[in-house]
């Protein structure tokens, strides 16, 4: 029975760091340039060239480590991982083997369960093979782009947890500014290690599925592989330790190479780069520059700003939205700002890409100015919404759209007078309301709103009317 098998998952997540220059030279890391234009003798591994470690890369890795509760190593060095592949111009990847920069952290899931992190190490990305017209071309632009690999312990026990862990890493890495974590562009990808075993028995033999570049593929691959391993065991056979790949077309995993064919990477210390001593001052300075982590931020939104949990989570999920919101909130009225951002702006964005990019024509200050008018009662929610739509379309200040009349406001005595008028001139609605037809009050509210050309606060008017009628 499949349901008898427990699932065990460990993830190795590669995250491309968004430093301006590459890990071992000063070439730019920007994505999407003409092939082989962001290259130098170091990127192409020309004989005699030497790598110079970009300290910024270590700083980014340390940020990632601090954000995932890791210890930062005082001494760290780089190692050579030797293997032959055309996209790897030196025939070795400079990586870290036995003294990685960060060790022993964890990521906490919503349930409170902690997924332990074994270590985080830095390494260089390889180039890219492009297959076209029966030829294979090599683009070394990506060669030397800095990566961190975040290696979890096998603490994940179901597929939903795997997704949550990945999303949590993604959000965290974006918030601390080390990566945009775009799986579709390859700036975040993962290898999954998966095994199954029966309750009370030791872990089963694991297989590794390489290079998952979307969360839904990862989920499908895990589901397929879980079921495949269960079937293998149920039929009395053994799971073979091997590396597999996910086939998007057939939605299955297939064998790439077995353990016997596994590469011997012949790791040894990289002689061209000196061992790095990481000073406390260096780490302290990074710690001091860390922004609030997503969990802390979300909690503060709820406790300090009075946002609902769902609203808070939604804002935190998208780094750029959170940045925009934070900037608005600093200028006052966070609750109203959140309503407009989520209700008006966010709702108009269809794709995840749009939400992640969150590109607006207006600045947080422009929105804050609008929110301030609403907060001070100069305009009501409806006008605020209408004005925001115009601002989003044209990028102008709220003042460009609000007329003197919009801004005139309505004083309380005028509202009181209009409410009295409404009750006096709509006897039928008043009666209906008194007889239990609560909806009838809307007609009275409508009267006042119409008279104030929508400037009155409808909720406040309704309360007043109810008080007048004495319901």
């Amino acid at each position: 029975m499949k349901s008898d098998y427990k699932l065990v998952i460990g993830l190795e997540t590669h995250v491309e760091l968004q430093t301006k220059s590459k890990i071992f030279c000063s070439c730019p890391t920007a994505f999407g340039a003409e092939p082989n234009t962001h290259c130098c003798p170091v990127c192409t591994g020309e004989p005699g060239s030497l790598p110079i470690l970009n300290k910024e890369v270590l700083a980014y890795a340390i940020r990632a480590g601090l954000a995932t509760n890791c210890k930062i190593s005082k001494i760290t060095h780089l190692d050579r991982k030797n293997y032959v592949y055309p996209d790897l111009p030196k025939a070795y990847q400079i990586s870290q083997f036995d003294e990685p920069i960060c060790v022993g952290g964890y990521v906490e899931l919503a349930s409170g369960k902690r997924i332990r992190i074994n270590h985080i190490h830095v390494e260089e990305d390889a180039g890219k093979l492009v297959h076209e017209d029966g030829y294979t071309y090599i683009d070394y632009n990506r060669g030397g782009v800095p990566l961190i690999e975040i290696v979890s312990e096998p603490d994940i026990t179901d597929i939903a947890e795997a997704r949550e862990y990945m999303e949590k890493l993604q959000i965290t890495m974006r918030h601390i500014g080390v990566s945009d974590c775009k799986m579709q562009e390859g700036s975040m990808r993962c290898d999954v290690n998966i095994s199954v075993h029966k309750e009370g028995e030791p872990f089963g033999t694991r297989t590794e599925i390489k290079n998952m570049n979307s969360l839904s593929f990862m989920e499908k691959a895990l589901a397929y592989e879980y079921s495949r391993q269960c079937d293998v065991l149920d039929s009395g056979e053994k799971v073979i330790q091997e590396t597999r790949r996910y086939n998007e077309g057939t939605q299955t995993t297939e064998s790439m190479r077995s353990k016997e064919d596994a590469q011997d990477y012949r790791y040894f210390p990289e002689p061209d780069i000196l061992t790095v001593e990481v000073s406390d001052e260096f780490v302290d300075a990074i710690q001091a520059s860390m922004p609030e982590l997503p969990d802390v931020l979300g909690k503060r939104y709820v406790e300090e700003y009075g946002l609902g949990t769902t609203e808070a989570e939604l804002i935190v999920k998208y780094k750029k939205i959170a940045d925009f919101f934070n900037a608005c909130a600093r200028e006052g009225s966070p609750k109203l700002a959140a309503n407009l951002i989520l209700g008006q702006i966010f709702r108009g964005m269809q794709t995840e890409e749009e939400k992640e990019a969150f590109e607006l024509k207006i600045t947080p200050s422009q929105l804050a100015a609008l929110v301030k008018l609403q907060d001070e009662g100069k305009i009501n929610a409806q006008i605020a919404r209408q004005t925001l739509q115009k601002m989003l379309a044209e990028g102008k200040d709220a003042s460009a759209y609000l007329t003197a009349e919009d801004l005139a406001g309505v004083d309380d005595s005028a509202i009181d007078k209009l409410c009295a008028e409404a009750v006096a001139s709509n006897a039928r609605a008043v009666n209906d309301y008194k007889n239990g037809k609560l909806q009838a009050i809307k007609a009275l509210v409508g009267y006042v709103m119409k008279a104030t050309r929508g400037k009155a606060d409808a909720a406040a008017v309704e309360s007043k009317l109810i008080a007048l009628i004495g319901g």
Partner: protein
């Protein structure tokens, strides 16, 4: 001023007695006559040399430049020069033209030096005889039946034969010092890191170091002064740029010279005699001779071959025929192409060292070989540090014998490996050492002695060497029958 050439020529250039163009033309002429005899150069770029000479003359005319301006020199074929074939004398790099200049070359060019061409060497600097070159062996100018040593044999032969004023070589386990000794010239292996390795095609990255081969100690010092100093393109480089050449005063009074008997085990009679005589000279000149002990010296050879081969197996992985250099003509697919390219492109000795290196790094053998070698390396470093508390320099032979006969190495592989015993400890410990002539053997072949110093103390090494040279006890000068 003895055998030194740089200052002599520089004065001639400044006085107007000759020009760099004339000097360069004379050198090119001599190369044409002598190179076919000794095969010291694998490439000569006359046009480029004359262009550089002309520019140097203009600088000198303006009263600019220094001792190196306008002086012709040669460079080992494993040092990158932009747009010019740089092959490490390996078939696998045939046709490879670097897209950049090595730091040392850039520095010498900035001094207005004139490069004549590229020197022959053992393939990828793996060897002690310059017989594994894909361009054929180089010959010892003192006797063409003998090798010039290696791997910088081409440079040493060129300087000895007077077809380069000086040459840049590289020394991973003795590749500057041993050929200098075999050819009767001076070779300086600087402290690891004193000279930038940027542009030196790697053999054993933690051991490789570029240095000068020259006609005199002062010449070596002048060139060293010009090429040394930390380089932002080589993270392992460090150290200052204070000149040494103007501090060679011939004074060794009170200098503590260490003698470790372990260096003198298994050394041939002629070599022993010449080195001992040199030590006597220092004692008479007022130096204090201190007996020291280096029992771990016997570990140096295996440590060297394990580390150098391990690093080489990784460094040479990139030669796959994809981006540059040689590519097999026929193949089935990418893997087949890489395999055939490497099988056809590398020579026997290089393949042997790649295999050795791959083996010692393999899982299951790593701890027993590579890791153990690293531990022993540490103990060798510590032992040298201890010794240099008792003395300022060490004097030792450079090699157990003088130059080997041609074709001797191929049949005596182990013995040839063993002959590196006197030179490899310095590379393992990252120390500076110089090789200079101290006599001749019964066959008239030069004998070299080695002076080893503390890290970054090239000055004391050079001063000690120059004092001996100044006393002019040795004449290994060579007349190849072509005069300028």
């Amino acid at each position: 001023m003895g055998a030194g050439k740089i200052r002599k020529y520089s004065e001639l250039l400044r006085s107007g007695a000759t020009t760099s163009v004339k000097l360069t033309e004379e050198y090119l002429g001599k190369i044409e006559v002598l190179n076919p005899e000794i095969n010291a150069y694998v490439a000569v770029n006359a046009e480029k040399a004359l262009r550089a000479a002309k520019a140097a003359d203009e600088r000198i005319a303006r009263g600019e430049g220094d001792a190196l301006t306008g002086i012709p020199f040669a460079i080992k074929d494993n040092i990158a020069t932009k747009g010019e074939e740089t092959t490490c004398c390996s078939r696998i790099l045939k046709g490879y033209k670097p897209t950049y200049d090595a730091t040392v070359y850039e520095k010498l060019c900035a001094h207005g030096a004139v490069v004549l061409g590229k020197n022959n060497m053992d393939e990828f600097a793996m060897g002690s005889s310059t017989e594994t070159s894909c361009y054929g062996a180089a010959y010892n100018p003192h006797n063409r039946g003998y090798v010039p040593g290696g791997s910088s044999g081409g440079g040493a032969a060129a300087v000895a034969a007077g077809i380069a004023t000086y040459a840049l070589g590289s020394d991973t386990g003795g590749s500057i010092r041993q050929p200098a000794a075999f050819c009767g010239v001076v070779g300086l292996k600087p402290t690891y890191g004193a000279v930038s390795r940027y542009g030196l095609i790697a053999y054993g990255s933690s051991l490789d170091q570029i240095g000068p081969i020259a006609a005199s100690v002062e010449d070596a010092a002048i060139v060293f002064d010009a090429i040394k100093g930390a380089d932002k393109r080589d993270q392992t480089s460090s150290g200052g740029t204070e000149p040494t050449a103007d501090k060679l005063d011939g004074n060794v009074k009170g200098l503590r010279i260490g003698i470790a008997e372990e260096y003198f085990d298994g050394i041939s009679e002629d070599t022993l005699k010449a080195v001992r005589k040199a030590i006597d000279f220092y004692a008479e000149a007022g130096a204090e001779i201190v007996k020291v002990s280096l029992p771990m010296l016997k570990d140096a050879l295996p440590v060297y071959y394990i580390i150098a081969c391990a690093e080489a197996s990784s460094n040479l992985g990139r030669y796959d025929g994809i981006r540059y250099g040689y590519r097999a003509a026929h193949y089935d697919d990418v893997n087949d192409m890489v395999m055939r390219t490497r099988s056809e492109g590398f020579g026997r000795e290089v393949k042997r060292r790649i295999m050795l290196g791959t083996y010692v790094l393999s899982s299951g053998y790593f701890d027993a070989y590579y890791k153990k070698a690293l531990r022993l390396r540490e103990s060798i470093v510590t032992a040298f540090a201890g010794i240099f508390e008792k003395c300022d320099v060490l004097i030792a032979p450079v090699a157990p014998t003088t130059a080997f006969p041609l074709n001797y190495t191929a049949d005596n592989m182990i013995e040839t490996y063993m002959s590196d015993i006197c030179t490899v400890p310095v590379n393992i410990a990252g120390l500076p050492a110089i090789s200079l002539p101290c006599g001749k053997d019964g066959k008239g072949l030069p004998v070299g002695m080695q002076i080893i110093g503390k890290k970054f103390d090239e000055l004391t090494v050079l001063r000690t060497a120059e004092a001996f040279e100044r006393a002019a006890l040795v004449d290994v000068a060579l007349d190849m029958g072509v005069t300028l």
